[in-house]
Symmetry: C2
Subunit: 104 residues, 2 copies
Amino acid sequence: MPRVLPEPSADSFDLTVILSALAEPGRRALMTELYRSTDPVDCAVVVEKADLGLSNPTISHHYRVLREAGLIRTVAEGRKRIVKVRRDDMDARFPGLLTAVLGT
Amino acid sequence: MPRVLPEPSADSFDLTVILSALAEPGRRALMTELYRSTDPVDCAVVVEKADLGLSNPTISHHYRVLREAGLIRTVAEGRKRIVKVRRDDMDARFPGLLTAVLGT
DNA sequence: CCTACTGTTCGATGCTTGTCGAATCATCAC
DNA sequence: GTGATGATTCGACAAGCATCGAACAGTAGG
């Protein structure tokens, strides 16, 4: 039942796309929150914690950008979306990048 | 006679500005070239090596963005502009960032 | 002083992007 | 099925940005 939403493979990561995704403060806030836990989490919970004053369409858009950059994996489970950072893939292609941008 | 062009202090660096600057392929190409040498270099030489097909105004604009992000220091000497990467300042505020983005 | 040269500034233009409201879709509970 | 709920899609709009040609500014060399 859970389906993984479309995402790029690690070897087709594009640094321009990744940096553009991380350059946006709202998206970086989401990532920082996501980066705390290694386990997948409900994206709505992350949104709540990040506490950006943004509408649902905008949030959805930001998650999409992050996913299409390869930064996160999104799994649809029922009505919810479960997300997690693709640490290994990112570290493989751009070692130290996530740590440098999102903190320790 | 040499004058240092206006630049932000290390403690006023803004990660959003920095990542936006590095997200642009042309600017990143300039940075990658600059990052090779620790010594200041003539910016025109860098442009030549990077071999982007861009006009002078555009190049000038890109250098300005990099400088105002705090990524480079630009010194005007006569008609030339001497540039170098602000490694120490960047490493102090965002350790590992330059290495992660520009390679070893 | 005049010229050549290097780089910057100034519009203007076209593309990208962040944002939202409204409509739509998919799923769960009853 | 019906209704409620969480998320996405679809225009639409405003702001930002990369790019260029033309004009400008400062400097070096006659």
